[in-house]
Structures are given as structure tokens and as C-alpha cells.
Amino acid sequence: MNPETTPDKPALFDRPRNVRRLLGGFFAILGLLLVAEGFIQGHAHFTWERMPFFHATYGFVACVAVIFTAKALRRLLKRPATYYDGDGTETPPATASQGRRDR
């Protein structure tokens, strides 16, 4: 344990009770938002906006879609961090000295 990075007093979210409170509050707000929808009349531009819980569903589905698509894309596009090494604009030192010798 590093004394400089981990103070004696546990940090805010090191206490499970605080994390539980935060999550509890979050879930309560989610519930409230679903309930609040029933009391609010808004102007809808599209028919789908009139569906119950449209925004909640769309937000949830979109986030899941983004993350799963990103995972699939990563499988296709991931390369080692050194992938572009050696394609640089500068001549590697060995070749440069070789060039000088040749001249």
C-alpha cells in the first residue's frame, strides 16, 4: 500500500455504504422519471415519441447497441500498439548510417 496515494481515511467510494446509497438514489431517480412521464404532456414531432417510455427505452437500447457494436468493431480493427512503428516519416538510424557509408 502506498501511503501517499491511499490516505488513512477511506475515500468516499471505498465505503460500500456510500456506493449503495449512490446506486439507490440512481435507481430511485430512474423510477421517478418513468412515473413523471405520465404527468407531462409534450409536443411530439414523430409518432414513436408518443410510445410509453420511448426515451428511456431508446437510451437503454442505444447504449447497449453502441457498446456491442464497438466490441464487434474492435475484433475487426484492433492491432498491436506497435502496428505503425517503422512506417514513420524518418529514416531509421541503421539505414541512415548505411546510406552514409554507401555515399
Binding site: 502506498n2 501517499e4 496515494t5 491511499t6 490516505p7 475515500a11 468516499l12 467510494f13 440512481f26 431517480i29 430512474l30 422519471l33 418513468l34 413523471a36 412521464e37 407531462i40 404532456q41 409534450g42 409536443h43 414531432h45 414523430f46 415519441e49 417510455f53 420511448f54 426515451h55 428511456a56 427505452t57 431508446y58 437510451g59 437503454f60 437500447v61 442505444a62 447504449c63 447497449v64 447497441a65 453502441v66 457498446i67 456491442f68 457494436t69 464497438a70 466490441k71 468493431l73 474492435r74 480493427l77 484492433k78 492491432r79 498491436p80 500498439a81 502496428y83 505503425y84 512506417d87 514513420g88 516519416t89 524518418e90
Partner: protein, 589 residues
């Protein structure tokens, strides 16, 4: 008649560019005061200057207008001036004149582009921006930054030349040089559009942004995040408002980067993808082209500059303090950097468009404009991208930087000036979010839009919080993509691998041709000539002697030829040949 040079004071663009030249001559507090004074004077000038044309100079037969002030240019000028001020405060502890000079020349270029009334001066400042911004990347002084800077300037030279070609063609076609609305209907306007699109990071011309910005210096990235793309947004709004292609390019541009941002390891690269996503919203608004949509695009550019700078400043603060900024290396920093963490959260809430934060009052104008115009698919794409924004910029950036696993890094809050700059931007985000009217008053068209309606607030909160809920569930269940040290291929692959391939192809092609030519056209004929010159007379002599049926000492033809080739003929033969030669000369003579 051209007014005298300083009739209206110095144009803000020239003030920054000329003022930057003084920076190396100053030191200590005076230098710091000068760095803060320049943006303040520019802001005051922009605020006070009445609408119309200022700083007009004659050059040959042209009128160069360095200060066309109207509502659109004023609002962009003000945010650029404000950003130069915040950036200067953030950079006060930097001991590197190169960064200060590059930063101010760059900001001057952006102001020049914004205020330019004619295409020639706009192009001039456009290139000033490209060159100066390159030095903010070079100033990191690492091999990676040097290579990224070279790629960056090459892409911008391409964009700049395309713009210039378009301007020249347009001028040759007899068009007026005033920067104003134009139809996208020919080669000239197409090239101008292409040049602007490069700077706006429109896909597939976007990869320079994510390639270069994360390699810039801590303060350099803050400057970079503000000027290049947003000055391009300004020029798009000025020239191509209502171009339908922008609606679709913008909508695609909001979605494409969110996937990349989700699996990117470098926080500043995540922010760069997020920057592209936000510019997509603006371009989409410009493409829709109605008063509501243009107001939305412009106000979103204004808000975006503040919260994106805030996010880059908080990431920069982490990099400044810990030397690290990749998800795999950082985490848990809220314990040691609580103020920076709070600033980052304000930026994250603003970019995610939470009610009471700036993104809410600007982005929703663009999405509403899509709704009013019954662009259903665009509306769905923009809302999808909004949920994507909360996933990467809203949660991922603060979570992996300040929460998540504790990387055990030694850290403390950054210097006071950096915190102050972040606080200035955070104040702007909150102020605009709570009280949008002063920003709305600056917009090009009268604003009738009301962001805070019950349905809008509840709808937006549902979208955002249920997206967070999905993020939480995926993280908890282990489906969220893990942080790994790797890169993800993007459009820059084509020119990075393409350039290497081109180099190899040219190497093999031209050097091969060179070798072939030397072999076939130089060495072979020379060898043949030498052989002919050497063997010819010998063969001739052998043939002549054969005719005379004279073989010295009964040698056969082969050994006789060999003897003649090597010059080891017996003594008498030499004498006979010399005599024969003299007889021949005598006969010919």
C-alpha cells in the same frame, strides 16, 4: 478609399499574430500579463466594434477585408477570444515560448478566418492556422509527436490547397471574392467544400484529428480542441448553410466516432473522437439550414468549445501531474485530484447535455430542428449518438480517469492557474446551462426556442439515465469492453500504410528501373565495346594470318589467338605485324 492601417485599432487577428512575436522578448510577470492582455483587448474590440466592414486594405486590385463583423462572426470571434484567454490562463505555468507563440498565432489565424470578408484573406489565415497548430504538436518533442505533426501538416496542406484551388477557380469564373453563401454545384464550390470539410474532420477526412491531438502538449491540445474544427464549422455555416449533404454527413459523423471512443485506451483520443461527434451535430444543423438549426449549430459550437476545452484541460491536468493518460494506466484519481475530478464531471455533464448544463440548451435546438423538419431518420440518428455520447464522454472519461480501479498513482491537484482555467470554463458551462438567454442573444437569428419544458427535461433525462443504467449493467456483468493497450484502425490507415506502400513501390519501381537502365544501357554496351576494341584486332589478325597460311612455329589457331589477345606473341610475329602495318599504310597512302 482605404482607411489608414490603424483607424480601428489593430484587427484582433493581427493583434494576436503580432503580439505573439513579442512573447520571447518578455519575461516573468510582464509576459504573463501580456498573455492575458491580448485576449482581453481582442474580446473588448469584438464586443464594441459595430457591425460592418472594418480593417479593409487594398492589395493590387483586391480589397482585403480583415474584419467583417455581423452576428455570426461576432459570436464565433467572442468564443475564440474567450478560449484564447482560458487557454492562456491554463498555460501560464508552461515555460516554453514556442507553445505560447504557436498558440497565439493559431488563435489569431482562427480569428482571422472568422472575421475575413474575402476569400483571399480567409485563405491566408487558414494556412496560418495550419502551420501554427502544427507547432503545438511538435512542441511535445517526442518522436511520436514529430511523426504525428508531419502527417497533420500534410493533411492540412492538402485541405488548404483544395480550398485555394476552389477559390482561384471561382475567381477565374468571374465570381465575387466575398465570403458568402454559395451553391454546392460545381468544381470550384466542390473544392472549397472539400477544403473546409478536411478542417471540420468530416469522415472519411477525419483521422488527422484523432491521430494528432492526443500527441500535442498538455496546453496545446486545449488550444487545438477549440479552433481548427470550429472555424471550419463557421465557414460552413457562412457558405453552405442548407446544403443537404451536410445533414447526412453530420448525422453519420455523430455516430461513427462513438464506437471508436468506446474502445479507445488514450483518454485524449477518446475526447478527440468525441470532438468529431459533437462537430457532427453542428454540421447536421448547418445542413438543415433553418433559423432554428443554424442557431442550434452556432450555440452548440459556443458551448462545445467551453466543455471540450474543460475536458481536455482536466485530462491534461492528469497527464501533467502523473505523466499518464491511458485508461490502462490511470484510475481512482478522485482521491488525490478531487477538484480536477469535479471539473471533469461538469464537462462530462455538459457534453452529455444534462439539464442545467450548457449542452442541453444548444444541442436540443439542432435535434428539435430535425423534428420540426420531419427528418425522422436524422432525428433517430442524433438521439442514438446522444446516448453514445453519455456512454463515452459522459461516463467513460470520468469513470476510467477518476474512479474505476485505483492505479495507485502518486498525484496531487495541478497548479492553481490550471484549476482556475478549468473553473472559468466550468462556470461558463453552468452559466449557459442555467441561464441561456445571454448566449441566445448573441445568435445570428432571433431565438424563440424554450429548452426547459417538462417533456424535454424528462425525455432527455430518461434517455441519458437509462443509457447510464445500460452502461452500469454491462460493466457489472463484464460485457463492457476491457481496457487494452492497442490501437484501432481508422481512415488514417490508408495514408499511413499507403504512404509506406507508396514509398516501397516507388523505391522498387524507380530504383529498379534505374538499375535496369544502368545494366542494360550503360554497363553492357561498355563491356561489349571494350571487348570489341580488345578482341576485334586480335581476331582480325588471326584471320589475316590464317589467310596467309602462316602460323608461327606451327601453333594451332586457338593458341595463336590467345597469344595475340594477351599480347604474348613471339618476337618475330610482332616484327612481321609491324612490317605488315607499314606496308598497309604505304599502300593506302
Amino acid at each position: 478609399m482605404t482607411p489608414p492601417l490603424f483607424a480601428d485599432g489593430l484587427a484582433p487577428s493581427l493583434l494576436f499574430i503580432c503580439g505573439a512575436l513579442l512573447i520571447p522578448l518578455l519575461s516573468g510577470r510582464i509576459k504573463q500579463a501580456w498573455l492575458l492582455l491580448m485576449p482581453l483587448v481582442a474580446l473588448w474590440t469584438l464586443w464594441e466594434m459595430p457591425a460592418g466592414e472594418h480593417w479593409v486594405y487594398g492589395m493590387l486590385d483586391y480589397r482585403l477585408v480583415l474584419g467583417r463583423i455581423d452576428a455570426l462572426s461576432r459570436v464565433f470571434g467572442i468564443i475564440f477570444g474567450l478560449m484564447a484567454l482560458i487557454g492562456a490562463v491554463y498555460a501560464l505555468q508552461v515555460n516554453d515560448d514556442l507553445q505560447y507563440m504557436a498558440g497565439f498565432v493559431y488563435a489569431g489565424g482562427a480569428l482571422g478566418v472568422t472575421l475575413a470578408g474575402d476569400w483571399f484573406s480567409l485563405y491566408l489565415f487558414w494556412e496560418v492556422m495550419a502551420v501554427a497548430s502544427t507547432f503545438l504538436i511538435l512542441a511535445r518533442r517526442t518522436p511520436a509527436s514529430r511523426r504525428a505533426a508531419v502527417r497533420y501538416i500534410l493533411v492540412h496542406v492538402f485541405g488548404g490547397l483544395s480550398l485555394l484551388a476552389g477559390i482561384v477557380l471561382r475567381h477565374a469564373g468571374g465570381a465575387d471574392l466575398t465570403v458568402g453563401p454559395m451553391a454546392l454545384d460545381g468544381l470550384a464550390s466542390g473544392l472549397i467544400f472539400l477544403g473546409i470539410a478536411v478542417n471540420a474532420a468530416v469522415p472519411p477526412l477525419h483521422a488527422w484529428l484523432q491521430d494528432a491531438y492526443p500527441e500535442a502538449t498538455v496546453a496545446g491540445a486545449v488550444f487545438l480542441s477549440a479552433f481548427t474544427t470550429k472555424s471550419a464549422v463557421y465557414v460552413m455555416a457562412r457558405t453552405f448553410a442548407g446544403a443537404e449533404i451536410l445533414v447526412w454527413l453530420g448525422a453519420v459523423m455523430t455516430i461513427l466516432p462513438v464506437f471508436y471512443a468506446e474502445v479507445e485506451n488514450d483518454i485524449r483520443r477518446v475526447l478527440s473522437y468525441s470532438l468529431m461527434n459533437q462537430v457532427g451535430f453542428m454540421l447536421c444543423g448547418i445542413g438543415i439550414g433553418t433559423e432554428l438549426a443554424i442557431n442550434g449549430a452556432v450555440s452548440h459550437a459556443f458551448c462545445h468549445i467551453l466543455y471540450k476545452a474543460l475536458l481536455f484541460m482536466s485530462a491534461g491536468a492528469v497527464l501533467h501531474v502523473t505523466g499518464k493518460i491511458t485508461c490502462t494506466d490511470i484510475g481512482g484519481l478522485y482521491r488525490t485530484m478531487p477538484v480536477t475530478c469535479l471539473m471533469c464531471l461538469v464537462g462530462a455533464a455538459s457534453i452529455s447535455a444534462f439539464p442545467l448544463f450548457s449542452g442541453f440548451v444548444s444541442k436540443s435546438m439542432i435535434i428539435s430542428a430535425a423534428g420540426v423538419n420531419h427528418l425522422g431518420a436524422v432525428w433517430l440518428m442524433l438521439q442514438f449518438a446522444s446516448a453514445g455520447v453519455i456512454a463515452h464522454a459522459g461516463i467513460k472519461v470520468p469513470f476510467f480517469t477518476f474512479f474505476g480501479h485505483d492505479a495507485g498513482l502518486k498525484a496531487k491537484e495541478p497548479p492553481l492557474n490550471m484549476l482556475l482555467a478549468m473553473a472559468m470554463a466550468a462556470f461558463g458551462c453552468l452559466f449557459i446551462g442555467v441561464c441561456p438567454q445571454p448566449l441566445y442573444a448573441l445568435l445570428p437569428y432571433p431565438v424563440h426556442y424554450v429548452p426547459y419544458t417538462g417533456a424535454h427535461v424528462v425525455g432527455q433525462l430518461q434517455l441519458l439515465l437509462f443509457a447510464i443504467f445500460a452502461f452500469y449493467l454491462l460493466l457489472k456483468s463484464g460485457y463492457y469492453p476491457s481496457e487494452v493497450r492497442a490501437i484501432n484502425l481508422d481512415a488514417d490507415w490508408f495514408y499511413r500504410k499507403g504512404a509506406a506502400g507508396f514509398y516501397r513501390a516507388v523505391d522498387a519501381g524507380f530504383n529498379g528501373l534505374n538499375r535496369w537502365c544502368e545494366q542494360r544501357l550503360v554497363q553492357s554496351p561498355a563491356r561489349l565495346g571494350a571487348r570489341l576494341a580488345f578482341l576485334g584486332p586480335a581476331r582480325l589478325a588471326v584471320a589475316a594470318l590464317e589467310r596467309l597460311r602462316w602460323r608461327p612455329h606451327g601453333e594451332d589457331e586457338a593458341s595463336c589467338g590467345k597469344a595475340l589477345e594477351s599480347g604474348t606473341v613471339r618476337l618475330g610475329a610482332h616484327a612481321a605485324a609491324a612490317a605488315l602495318f607499314l606496308v598497309l599504310i604505304y599502300l593506302v597512302g
